[in-house]
Symmetry: C2
Subunit: 218 residues, 2 copies
Amino acid sequence: MHTLTEENYLKAIYRIFESTGETVSTNAIAENLQINAASVTDMFKKLGQHKLVVYEKSKGVKPTDKGKKIALQIIRKHRLWETFMVEKLKLSWDEVHEIAEQLEHVHSDLLIERLDQLLNYPKFDPHGDPIPDKNGKLPVLKSILLSEAKPGSSYKITGVGKNSDSFLKYLKKIGLKLGEMIKVKEVEEYDGSMKIQLMDTKAEVMLSKEATANLLVD
Amino acid sequence: MHTLTEENYLKAIYRIFESTGETVSTNAIAENLQINAASVTDMFKKLGQHKLVVYEKSKGVKPTDKGKKIALQIIRKHRLWETFMVEKLKLSWDEVHEIAEQLEHVHSDLLIERLDQLLNYPKFDPHGDPIPDKNGKLPVLKSILLSEAKPGSSYKITGVGKNSDSFLKYLKKIGLKLGEMIKVKEVEEYDGSMKIQLMDTKAEVMLSKEATANLLVD
DNA sequence: TTAAATATTTAGACTTACCTAATTTTTTAA
DNA sequence: TTAAAAAATTAGGTAAGTCTAAATATTTAA
């Protein structure tokens, strides 16, 4: 078993590696975890010794298969707990992340196995993020970005890209929720902003290109 | 918020204080937490500074009201999680303790509030131990020890006294479960051992005085 | 292509929670 | 009531994970 700290580094390294495919730099992790770069160097060495990453001095790290596997299990736990909190405890979408950050570090394969069963083996969490299975396999997501949607068509909001806290709060404020149906009314040529209509309330909302490029729809 | 370590000390101090009513000694905690007495002295000083206990040098500690309150909240969380795992995740009685030791340190009042609600505000956990409410109030338990039960009468097993792992395993092995109905067949004069019958399987089991003095029945 | 800017690492320190060994205090029992 | 035993404390150390400041590498841009 690894320390909580190692787990958090591994998770951050995995995420950045997945999104860029490149060696992960000291600074990227320092920024991501809000700690000093010198501390990151220390931890890179340690993770390297433990064969969780391949560390090349002054270059950065790449997660090993072992490191990826651990990261995926933590992500799996995080997303299952989030699903549990939203579905069973009726907590809201944007309240669960912080709590899941704690719960994801509870060690027990049996617990997670049964939690998965209780939730009926969900493939996506309440933010629309895919939940790795117990072998670390991710389900395939066929959603597209709202920014690529056709005007006139209707879509279901299935998730967000980067699920920053502020973005989630923003969505809540303008009345958008996961699972909600929307219709694309029009797209502005010059800045890519989009007017959409909420199917149930008929309310119309303007979304910036930035926002539409961060919303997944089916 | 306090560290995980402080929380574990506080819980141990609270339990021992509740069962003895006396100042809790350095050695008692060292033994309980399986750590060196010198380390306990260090922590006693720190907890004293934080006003979680009253520490008198070479005498030991007593928890303050603040310390008790925190201990009770940890115990509350522990027991609610155990209830959740047995009732909702179908884990068995003796599998949940270790996991609850981790879950009890997750910080979120809202989470626990909703978990309590999901479980329908249980008053006792699967071991029959009382669950403090959110203000730290304990429900009154009217169960008696099996060792004090009358021969010929029937009882429901509601809990165990000291729920040591080995005792739980022992119970499982001989086929006793919480909630099970039993009938007291006879009590040996000379050693206090007891023959009981399980109501559902009709199986008869001999229990030592030690065992019957650690089983709660209604 | 080299000087400046940026990124990374090293060195040395701090805190928490632990340890061992030595000392002191308290308790017990002759 | 005092000597031996037991309990508790002090002193000094260690490992993990962090920090700052200084040194070194790497990248960028003139």
